[in-house]
Symmetry: C2
Subunit: 268 residues, 2 copies
């Protein structure tokens, strides 16, 4: 605790895993880790033997408001001490090792951690120091390893990025957002009937102005216009705008006293 009083009003969300940074080197990274944890709804942070001691003002400066997470972290001398009260511990492990342990992807780990936490067990996630990663003794304190699927040609992952991926997967594992929606704000997606009503209006004006006067081609042209408007979800508001555009274009044409012949170019 440092007594600082700034930052966002972060608090634990349910029973969530503890993030344990083992021998972290850079205070900047510790701050960035706190920020990433906040993004993904994690709160509990433990540091094992931070290289430059603790607290470090730079961490708070780099946490972008995740102060509460830093205010509440605890310091430990050894990994064994940091995990002593936990029931399950997963260790991030970027490089293959000669260890016999279950190996999960980040997504697989997030799903398991959700189950573990839902059972009211306490879980932790170990992250190694910036350069070397966790050593074999550190990993012996974990029951499970986690390796992210990433470009094998460039696996050098920043510490806070590693925490970000895990925090993101933790949040996403419990998220029900549809993978695709249409942002419609104060309007709504139009029904097929509302779309058909607009297409009727458009075709009537295209008949009136002569755009569709080629009788053999007319059914195909009408169908192609329909295909364009059917392709995406159109909103009620957009249909109102389209009705207005058609009305105004037709009116302008009529007011300028144009004849059907002027429609020729557009009909090609």
């Amino acid at each position: 605790m440092t007594g600082r009083d700034g930052g966002a009003d972060l608090a634990p969300i349910g029973n969530s895993p503890v993030v344990i940074l083992v021998r972290p080197q850079l205070a900047d990274n510790i701050g960035a880790v706190a920020r990433a944890m906040g993004n993904g709804g994690l709160f509990h942070l433990r540091l094992v033997a931070p290289r430059d001691g603790w607290p470090q003002e730079k961490a708070w400066r780099n946490a972008s408001g995740a102060d509460r997470i830093l205010d509440n972290l605890t310091i430990h001398d050894t990994v064994a001490e940091a995990v002593a009260d936990l029931h399950r511990v997963v260790a991030t492990c970027p490089r293959p090792r000669h260890i016999v342990k279950p190996l999960l992807t980040a997504r697989g780990a997030a799903a398991e951690l959700r189950v573990i936490c839902a059972r009211d067990l306490r879980a932790g996630i170990l992250f190694g120091p910036e350069r070397a990663g966790l050593d074999n003794d550190d990993m012996a304190c974990a029951d499970t390893l986690v390796r992210y699927p990433l470009n094998p040609g460039f696996m050098s992952l920043n510490l806070s990025q590693a925490v970000m991926v895990m925090a993101y997967e933790w949040w996403t594992a419990d998220d029900v957002t549809l993978p695709r929606r249409l942002m419609t704000n104060e309007t709504a997606v139009a029904t097929k009937g509302e779309l058909d009503n607009f297409l009727g209006h458009l075709v009537a004006e295209l008949d009136a102005c002569g755009f569709l006067r080629n009788k053999p081609k007319r059914p195909g042209m009408v169908r192609n216009i329909r295909h364009l408007f059917e392709r995406g979800e159109v909103t009620v508001q957009e249909l109102r705008t389209l009705h207005g555009i058609v009305t105004e274009l037709a009116l302008g044409r009529r007011q300028r006293g144009r004849t059907e012949k002027d429609g020729d170019a557009a009909a090609d």
Copy 2:
């Protein structure tokens, strides 16, 4: 191009989306973005009007070897110019806006981008400046919005973290790693028969030393021991070790001339 000649041997992997940073402010972040792109197998980077000009030595220092990505990036005056040769553009959009556009999660976007790129279309992903994010004119250049599911109580995401999540999802969308494996290295998971063979050895020695001499309780005790060893996947190597442990413990006991009575405490 800066003529630098360091870093990892990164190159484009297939047809992958272009990352477009709109008015980025900090060279450190641009370097961190390049590193995150390398992690996720992205290569093409474009900068629109970087605040402090370009090139910036700090970006290369912060890229941790993703130099090739910085060496090959291009600079553009406007978003419209940066996306002119692309067929599809998605824009990251952390905050709700009054825009009618399809809205995807990061995972949904990655899946769609994989399909777009497999069709040999050129795709791009817009990321806004550090503080303000993309403005409404920027977003009008995109066909689709992307919003990550993250803690709504703390959405302030570092620029390179935002790119990391998208790059990670891009890589993961084409990844077939099983969510759970057992790292076994030079050994293999034992079959049920091999496990049964060990349990037979163990039970025989437990009979011999008297641990199982309570006849009514014996079947349940044997079953409980089996449950423990059946719970996780045991390797062939671990079974060899367990056989050795049982043999040595039994031998030591016999050599010390102990009687069956010494088994009492452990049998409770």
